[in-house]
Symmetry: C2
Subunit: 264 residues, 2 copies
């Protein structure tokens, strides 16, 4: 399982405050906590508060002063992504591109030449997908463009686009179906990722819904998630799911064994 | 989701004691607790302690004195099953038959004429299945025999046979694959059931493994389980899973709504 820590995001008030006041301690604290919890990447997102490249640079540099966990560059601006890639000490994850041809023509070569991984969102200019078929069609476009332009399949992360259960309940089944289809694209298939927390947006059982949906997605073929890596029950559920799928050899203390095996 | 309460089973020490001493209070207590927790059927199993028909009759009558929840007749002896069916106030679940032709020739007509449901185990004289293909082959045999002999598909429960993760780790994936295949047998498909607790046998994380495996199975197409219905986290996980699959309309208090809707 590839865990991307979601917490360094300007959508959270403490991160907003940190950016405004250039308070390194808040960013640094979340960088450490998420790394200790087992994050493979730390997502860095400015949110709507700022659109200054300097702020983004400051955030990434602050994270890298504290931990060596790779960065997930969360921006839709190509100029920001280009700058961020140059700052990254380790091979980053670009989060993200849509499936629009003109975007892919720019961003895939950038990922290839900088040895970065790339999240491809199954959406385009026409908006979010309404069913599994559209997700699969856009996923196939992302996959074929990536392969054609020289991005290895293990550097591509397909995101089927998760919608809030509260408002678009029937979309969850489409996401699961799309994940199953993505696993058939190639052998081994590309990585499959979701932004987990969206599923439980504005519900009263956020952790429960996140946890159950993550397990269902892993059963369907998912192998990566942008999520709250500090939610221990969530992480333990994912570990147990992978144990059941025979991706880790059973031992009585399999959770501890998994965590030990991933210490950096 | 169809929940079969597993607790009135001579494998548990308190039930052994109850049978030996003809202590109705212990059996009655578990009948009530499991019914209140939402069991659709109460499994009644003598375990290895006794092989007396009188004891089995006593157990079933004791349960029915306290609750009106239908009985899951858990015995592999045809004579016990025949007797138990006559005692049952409500249409019971016969637990179970193997896929052997001579057994099916006897037990399916019995289920048909008594309007009972029937669990068909995906195993035969040769033993337990070793892979998904064997499970699917035996499931198809059970399904076609049932249909041919007049048992409606909604009275048939296919059990792909769950093995302990600790000793046969690779079998869990075969169970999931078999469940997916069973959903393709007909539309609507037969019910699909597992004896859940077997998966976590002799592990140190029984509840966690049970919970995660149940969610994975439901994602794959399972709609019934013999399990610890008094494990609230387990039941809530299954409810959440069915919500995500759009089998219940979302509301902020969806767990409460589900439980209310099932009160007898």
């Amino acid at each position: 399982m590839i865990f991307v820590g979601e917490r360094i995001n300007g959508g959270f008030k403490d991160i907003q405050k940190a950016i405004k006041e250039k308070d390194k301690s808040i960013i640094g604290r979340w960088a450490k906590i998420q790394t200790e919890a087992g994050a493979d990447y730390l997502d860095v997102n400015m949110g709507a508060l700022s659109n200054k490249l300097d702020d983004f640079v400051w955030m990434i540099e602050t994270v890298q002063e504290v931990v060596s966990t790779p960065i997930s560059i969360d921006s839709n601006k190509l100029s920001f992504i280009e700058k961020a890639i140059k700052l990254c000490h380790k091979s980053p994850l670009i989060n993200s591109t849509t499936a629009d041809k003109e975007k892919l023509d720019e961003i895939i070569p950038l990922a290839v030449e900088s040895n970065a991984s790339l999240i491809g969102l199954c959406m385009d200019k026409k908006g979010a997908p309404r069913d599994a078929n559209k997700r699969v069609e856009l996923g196939a476009t992302l996959f074929s463009e990536a392969i054609e332009k020289g991005l290895p399949e293990d550097k591509l992360f397909l995101d089927p686009i998760t919608m809030p259960l509260k408002f678009l309940q029937e979309q969850a089944s489409s996401v699961l179906e799309a994940i199953r289809q993505f696993t058939l694209l190639s052998s081994p298939p590309p990585h499959i990722i979701i932004g987990l927390s969206n599923i439980s947006s504005q519900t009263k059982e956020e952790e429960l819904i996140n946890r159950i949906f993550l397990v269902m997605c892993i059963e369907a073929g998912l192998d990566a998630a942008i999520c709250d890596v500090t939610d221990e029950e969530l992480v333990n559920s994912a570990i147990t799911c992978e144990l059941i799928l025979n991706k880790q050899i059973y031992s009585d203390s399999f959770i501890k064994a998994y965590k030990e095996s991933r210490k950096k």
